[in-house]
């Protein structure tokens, strides 16, 4: 739906993040292009989630510059920030559904905040989102504690998509799902990206996801992006970690 335009939707320049004395991100540069699904990988504890949270603004950075939709979030005033926040959706690792609200209320929550529309439209949009993420509308009145892990991820995705964002951040969307469920989820992300023209920033460990869902892959190591490119580029890379990751036993099993 949206042609890949060359200007990046997220532009990260020379970002440094430090917790105490540990430097997690060290002068990191990254571009995410409009309309692509970027898979973001790296060893555990390398700071993948930290970068995501820094871009969203949950973690303060020591130095550097981040632009989302061409807006520098440090320079933006409150209204400017809110305008940007409205255009992205975030799927947290554990779903982060509001436990005291039903599925219906969870999905309607951001819509109700930002748009003055009738309850009827809210309900209809909620059902549409549930159908889109592959759930039946009858889960609407359940509480998050009554859902399975896979359903929680799907509802959280529906909530992230509630306002039809242009950009979604997915933090390990397939972790904790069975392989079939994870495969379905990858398929779902691809479908939604096609139909809604989303840009997807996906932190993942799942080789299957990288292989089936992502257009481009960026690898984080030592606080920097050590490689970015297509799956073929990754497999051709000589970097030791990349070789191990993309040519290990599990990788061979995936790529057959």
């Amino acid at each position: 739906m949206i042609q890949a335009v060359s200007d990046p939707i997220i532009r990260v320049r020379d970002v440094t993040v430090q917790f105490g004395k540990t430097r997690v991100l060290d002068g990191l540069d990254l571009d995410v292009k409009r309309g692509e699904i970027l898979g973001f990988v790296g060893p555990s504890g390398a700071g993948k989630s930290v970068l995501t949270r820094t871009i969203i603004g949950l973690v303060p950075k020591l130095s550097g510059n981040i632009e989302v939709f061409g807006v520098d979030l440090d320079a933006a005033d409150r209204a400017g920030r809110r305008a940007v926040e409205r255009r992205w959706g975030v799927l947290f690792q554990q779903g982060a559904l509001f436990s005291s609200l039903t599925v219906r209320q969870n999905i309607q929550f951001p819509v109700r905040e930002y748009l003055k529309v009738s309850q009827r439209l809210l309900d209809e949009i909620m059902v549409a989102k549930l159908v889109m993420v592959g759930l039946r509308p009858d889960v609407a009145d359940r509480f998050p504690s009554e859902l399975s892990g896979g359903m929680i991820k799907r509802v959280a995705l529906a909530r992230a998509l509630a306002l039809d964002p242009e950009l979604v951040f997915l933090d390990e969307p397939t972790s904790g799902l069975d392989p079939i469920g994870a495969g379905d989820f990858d398929e779902l992300v691809r479908t939604l990206q096609r139909t809604l023209g989303l840009t997807v920033f996906m932190v993942t460990h799942d080789l299957d996801s990288l292989y089936t869902a992502c257009d481009r892959i960026a690898v984080l190591g030592n606080g920097k992006i050590i490689a970015a490119g297509s799956m073929a580029d990754m497999q051709a890379s000589e970097h030791p970690w990349l070789r191990q990751y993309f040519h290990g036993k599990r990788a061979r099993a995936v790529m057959g």
């Binding site: 949206i2 529309v117 309900d123 209809e124 949009i125 159908v131 998050p144 504690s145 998509l161 039809d164």
Partner: protein, 377 residues
């Protein structure tokens, strides 16, 4: 770059042509909803309806759904409304929303007389459930203590000491401060009113009996129910929410033995100690006020106190303390284990832990008053 949306109508005989223009996206949703609602009023009057969307500059789920809603409301048994001019980009989105079938939504909860009566009935029945749960927990704790007595090695000493530090040592400053202030207030009020009868000195009797028998232990128990009972409920409740208690069970540990017994024991040890400190602080505060405000010097105060109170008053107070601790602990643990999956449930049970804890402390105090009167203490 995106014009605000519009929906133009042109009727040609029996046929109605609708032409959507502009951006049909979420930010314009309120306006779009009005446009669609206006157009829907024509449903049933027109025979052949076409919806032209070729001029739509931007479309998202909100827009696609509203166009789909329009199509549905114009589609009757015989005629089907058409969507024309759909660009390939948006076709998959429109197909996606076409799959949506609306189930009749649940109506809001009905507020009726029978419903309200039913609610009262359930609350009353709930009291029985609460008492049963408390007795159940008491039994479980006694059984677990029995097991620990037989196998002393399974006793969790480290955990008990940790909780003792939390509920006893760290509570000392606030308990001493509060009881000191209450002692001062009782003495001041006593002197103020007794002075009219020239009975200033009797304030020492009142202070001694009141503090040692009732106020000391009651105040400390209420403070501890608020301070430690709530903490126990929140700790156990969030452990329950994260399935930590289930994990303990599957590893062959008894949650009562591992989690609840150390907490109960810590409270039962802490409350008498804190009550004792509270008694001293209140008497000290009362003594200071009696000296500076009432002119009763410390020597006279102590002499009078020695005559006014017997060891019985002190024993009565301290005997009550461990029982009240057990009540607070059991209520807190029952509530903690009753927490379900949501944050709201955790909040509700923590509140209810404090409220029920204080309620049962006061009830127990009443029972003790009757008991001690009967045995003549």
């Amino acid at each position: 770059m995106n014009g605000s949306p519009d929906l133009q109508r042109s009727a040609d005989g029996n046929a109605l042509a609708l032409r959507a223009t502009g951006a049909w996206t979420a930010p314009f949703a309120p306006a779009l909803e009005r446009l669609v609602a206006d157009a829907e009023k024509l449903a049933g009057k027109a025979g052949n309806v076409s919806i032209d969307v070729s001029q739509v500059s931007k479309l998202d789920t909100f827009g696609a759904w509203l166009i789909e809603r329009l199509r549905r409301s114009f589609t009757t048994g015989t005629v089907e409304a058409r969507i024309d001019g759909l660009s390939a980009n948006y076709a998959s989105l429109v197909d996606e929303v076409r799959r949506v079938s609306l189930a009749p939504g649940d109506d809001a909860i009905n507020v009726t007389i029978t419903g309200m009566l039913g609610q009262i009935g359930r609350s009353v029945a709930g009291i029985v459930g609460t008492v049963a749960a408390l007795i159940d927990m008491l039994g479980a704790v006694i059984v677990a203590s029995g097991r620990v007595l037989i196998h002393p090695r399974s006793f969790r000493l480290t955990s008990t000491i940790h909780h003792l530090e939390q509920v006893c040592w760290r509570a000392v400053p606030i308990i001493v401060l509060i009881t000191f202030l209450i002692g001062c207030i009782i003495a001041q009020q006593g002197i103020f009113h007794f002075r009219r009868f020239g009975a200033d000195i009797f304030v020492v009797d009142m202070l001694g009996v009141l503090v040692l028998r009732e106020i000391g232990v009651l105040l400390v128990a209420i403070m501890i129910a608020g301070r430690s009972g709530s903490a126990y409920t929140a700790e156990l409740g969030s452990m329950k929410m994260r399935e930590e208690i289930d994990a303990l069970r599957t590893m062959g540990f008894d949650p009562i033995e591992v989690l609840i017994l150390p907490r109960m024991l810590a409270l039962v040890i802490a409350l008498p100690i804190l009550s004792f400190l509270g008694d001293i602080a209140a008497l000290y505060g009362g003594g200071l006020v009696a000296w500076f405000y009432g002119g009763v010097d410390p020597e006279a105060f102590l002499l009078r106190l020695r005559d006014a109170i017997s060891i019985d008053h002190f024993t009565v107070g301290l005997l009550k303390a461990p029982v009240m601790a057990a009540v607070i602990g059991i209520v807190a643990c029952v509530e903690g284990l009753a927490v379900e999956g949501s944050a709201e449930s955790l909040g509700r049970h923590t509140t209810s832990s404090v409220v029920k804890g204080i309620f049962f402390v006061i009830v127990m105090d009443g029972v003790f008053a009757i008991f001690f009167a009967a045995v003549g203490m």
